[in-house]
Symmetry: C2
Subunit: 280 residues, 2 copies
């Protein structure tokens, strides 16, 4: 018997999916519908263990480190001395794992909607979920939008590690939310959001850019390949109150990264014309 | 009715494919089996027209320019004054189109095994195939290995724009062939070869590196994302007799590129640890 998982990928072009990506499965380790979404964990031949939410691949062990290193180390090394960091979403623990490599970070707050994602990650994906045992981590099971609106001037870095902009996550791509994040940051704080594929989701990327620019004096955009995400290249958008994220003002460099280096950090901000043209 | 094309992607991990990529088809424009391979041209919803050889996507109009700009402009701008250029494979005309942007190039030779690929491209993919009408282009319908062995010291740049290393194309990844290319080059000539995915085909990449190093004093490796190729990121290997391809010694810069810029050229050579580790 052959078991395959297929992701019908969403793009700007058509209402229904016209592109799909399929992965042969060794074993389905877990599957459950929570009040928020359907969670599944598979063991795959090519990519090792894989977390799927509502039919969309969130991570595989073969490439999650690229995404998680790039969404965390770029802002954490751009800010001169981050002590307090908020992750919105990120219940798998991958971002928390990377943030916990900074000894000077005193407080790592997670605002995750679905407690079950954290439980599943701790149980089936300890490569990421084990990060929750760091005593600096404070987990809040809450709508990230509500949490951010309740905070003022407390975080040096906010990382929006969200799913695609569908259902409840759509708010996490809106101008109102980015304004609230800006207010939740310290005066020289930095926000990074995962901002989809610059090839397949150009409309989303353009909207994120316009929304961030409404609240933040500095907008920046950088790239990293994530093989199991749609469209071959993933993107991250930065809203910065003061620091230029290309400057790498934090002298601390975490050891043992598999994708991130200071040179990769610089190169990730180099945008080809086809991507620059998203921003008009 | 829905028509989908599925590519079963080949990787290092398993004999049989465990990953596949599917594209919804508007129309099948052409399909024929030649003496060498099965050629198909589709019109797709997401990526426009698409050329498929033996079930493997060779190009789509949505992203072919990334591949073709990066396989040509990097060596052509690294060599101080390329006048004579050979393309091995490349019957679609995409590499020829980019090379023909250099007024100082006097001679563009193509060594393609299957005349039918050129005919199909001229007829169905004029966005690439029209390049063959440049009077500087000389088409040879010949096994690229045989052609290269017959040439000594005549080309400033050789571009190996080959399919995957299966069937006849496998020779184009071998040490004997690279030695012959080295001898076909002028004393300061540069070779670039498409070298598969650094995520899914690490074994091929390592072998190409070792084989090139046997003949060339300089080995270099660079990256570009090609959304419709397996594994999200594509790679190119350079064998250079003298010039460092990072130096961009050719002052001529072609206008109107959609992916390539001098900054992208530099950034493409920045390798993350997970990719550097291929080379031990």
């Amino acid at each position: 018997m052959e078991l395959w998982f297929t992701e019908k990928q969403l793009t700007d072009q058509e209402e229904a999916s016209t592109v799909s990506f399929s992965v042969k499965i060794k074993e389905m380790l877990y599957r459950e519908r929570t009040g928020f979404q359907e969670i599944a964990v598979f063991d795959t031949y090519e990519f090792g263990k894989m977390l799927v939410l509502d039919g969309i691949i969130q991570l595989t062990l073969a490439d999650e480190f690229i995404y998680h290193e790039m969404i965390t180390h770029v802002p954490l090394r751009a800010h001169p001395a981050p002590r307090s960091v908020l992750v919105v979403g990120g219940g798998d623990g991958g971002s928390v794992r990377e943030i916990s490599k900074y000894p000077a970070v005193e407080r790592i707050v997670l605002a995750e909607l679905d407690q079950k994602v954290i439980e599943v990650s701790r149980r089936f994906l300890p490569e990421l979920g084990a990060a929750f045992s760091d005593p600096r981590v404070e987990v809040n099971i809450i709508n990230g939008v509500d949490y951010v609106h309740s905070m003022k001037g407390v975080f040096d870095v906010v990382i929006v590690d969200s799913p695609d902009p569908l259902g409840p996550a759509e708010q996490l791509f809106g101008a109102t939310f980015y304004q609230a994040v800006c207010e939740a940051l310290t005066p020289d704080g930095i926000m990074v959001v995962q901002s989809e594929s610059p090839f397949l989701n150009r409309r989303v990327v353009r909207q994120v850019c316009e929304n961030i620019k409404q609240s933040f004096p500095g907008f920046y955009y950088y790239l990293a390949p994530v093989p199991t995400y749609p469209g071959s290249l993933w993107s991250f958008a930065v809203g910065s109150r003061q620091h230029n994220p290309l400057e790498q003002k934090n002298a601390f460099l975490p050891a043992g990264t598999r994708y991130y280096t200071p040179e990769v950090h610089q190169a990730a901000f180099v945008l080809p014309p086809i991507i620059r043209s998203i921003f008009g």
